[in-house]
Amino acid sequence: MDSSRFKRVSECVWQIPQSGEMRVPALIFADATLLTEMDDKVYTQLTNVACLPGIVKAAMAMPDAHWGYGFPIGGVAAFDPDRGGVISVGGVGYDISCGVRCHRLHIKKQKLLPKLQELIDELFRSIPAGVGSTGKIKLTVSKLDDVLRYGALWAIEKGYGHHDDLEFIEEHGRVKDADPSKVSATAKERQKKQIGTLGSGNHYLEIQFVEEVFDREAASAFGIEKDDVVISIHCGSRALGHQIGTDYLQILGAAAQKYNIPIRERELVCAPIKSPEGRDYFKAVGCGINCALANRQVLGHLTSQVVKKIVPGASCQLIYDVSHNTCKLEKHLVNDKMHKLYVHRKGATRAFGPGHKELPKAYRKVGQPIFIGGTMGTCSFILTGTKTGEELAWSSACHGAGRSMSRRAAIKKWKGKSVINSLRNRGIILKAASMRGAAEEAPEAYKDVERVVEATHRSGLAQKVARLKPLAVIKG
């Protein structure tokens, strides 16, 4: 994008001033290079979001923003229900509550290395991944309704993990605004065999080590130090979330017509939060969130069992679990008054700063952990939420590196086997369910995650805590 189209507010904050039908300005958090490299669609999509009824303060994009569906990926926007605010399918996306959970293993990298191959092989056998894979848990539709109502709590009560885990999951593992009657039978049919599966695309399980610590106090609160091994799991609500998105695209499309909301892009369809359609979608999204939290809890438990079996002396303790495709009802300060807002984060991580009462006691002084997945060949990051981030962007941060090359271009350029060999030469084991998937996810097909994280840190959205390097990866 041409940076001259923006008003530079600070080093890493760029504004599209309010004009035409925009109800608020738009803000992009990025350094000059990231902004220049962003596609023009981010500009168009962000200004479209700024035109939606009831939007508060600004339409925002995180440093990893790119062209999405209605909202840009990396888009953040809050809506006030008392001022005609809307809820939009594009602001949540198709993979509802896709997110990352990270576990510490209480073991150093050097001690793990002799067991690494055996560990990743066993994890690959135990964690269903890739298209067509199904989990060991087979549910009836009525049992699935319990998953949608109770989230990670359902998983724990079925023996997948411990009650102590709940404190370390956003919303304590369960959003209460979830009503399974608002989710279609097709969505439930699709999900019956998918609880406890990783999926494919950019979803992964990664064994990593802490390469560098930037913030000792926060790292210590999260229970990690240099060379410690962690396992990160990135996945979401699987087929259920996708089907909810697909179903409500039609429902909110009709609602937007009914309530005379002009739609500039079909995936930006929306309904007033206070309308029956808007309320139904919010309750269906709640089901998607609970499904994702349950799914990651099951995967976390399966991982923990394998770790304990293969690596003597290691354990698998949850650091935190947080999503990056959600719409949540949150309280935020607007003009010195607390307002209840519906915050959409599409490809953006919730990032509560220090002192927030939702955070576990152990983290309340340092802020919420945020996990930024890089690529399987480079690195990932742990950040922490800040007070500034609350003021700047409703406590939101980036979520990943973002692709720089299309999937088709990637499979033309690389073969799955060559990606595996190249990673092996760099000391990283890749287990891929699909060779095509491995080629598509080649590290070189992604943007520089370090630059994205640096811009997030420098803009004040979040603070760097640690850099993680991959040791072994499972790709779906």
């Binding site: 067509g132 097709t186 996708h242 089907q243 695209l249 079909r266 973002g402 720089s404 598509e440 779906g476």
Partner: protein, 147 residues
């Protein structure tokens, strides 16, 4: 993979670029053939070798929307859902379209890793780049699928 040359249109299926996901496109002499080829493009992503899909099962499909573009997205989403729920992959299709309603059949078999290979999981069809139009005497039906 289907032929990729877009300079001269011929009835076929194609995939096309999108930064994070991937596009599917069907081209045909009729809107029905474009829809059928669009479905072939979809299953070319889900399996490694679409030509390996034998016709052992038939599924009837009915869907509707408020316009032709919406109908193409609904058609692809219906196929994704059936494939997902029943573990089937499809390689051949016959559809009849009346306004924005579709009735058709999808032909295929149960997916097997050994026989069909593992492609990528398609989460859903989107309205991004979605269009059904007539160009140079041929029908084009396309959309981006979220993967």
């Amino acid at each position: 993979m289907g032929p990729q040359n877009m300079e001269k249109l011929t009835p076929e299926w194609q995939t096309f670029d999108h930064i994070a996901d991937i596009g599917i496109r069907g081209i045909g002499q009729s809107v029905e053939e474009a829809f059928e080829n669009g479905a072939r493009a979809l299953f070319s992503l889900i399996v490694e070798d679409i030509s390996a899909i034998a016709i052992k099962e038939k599924r009837e499909i009915n869907c509707s929307s408020y316009d032709l573009t919406g109908l193409f997205v609904a058609w692809i989403n219906t196929l994704i859902a059936i494939s997902d729920i029943e573990g089937l992959v499809f390689g051949d299709f016959r559809v009849c379209i009346n306004d924005a309603s579709l009735f058709g059949n999808a032909f295929g078999e149960t997916w097997s890793l050994e026989k069909h290979g593992r492609g990528i999981e398609v989460k859903g069809a989107t309205f991004s780049e979605a269009v059904v139009k007539k160009e140079d005497g041929l029908w084009i039906a396309q959309c981006i699928v979220d993967v």
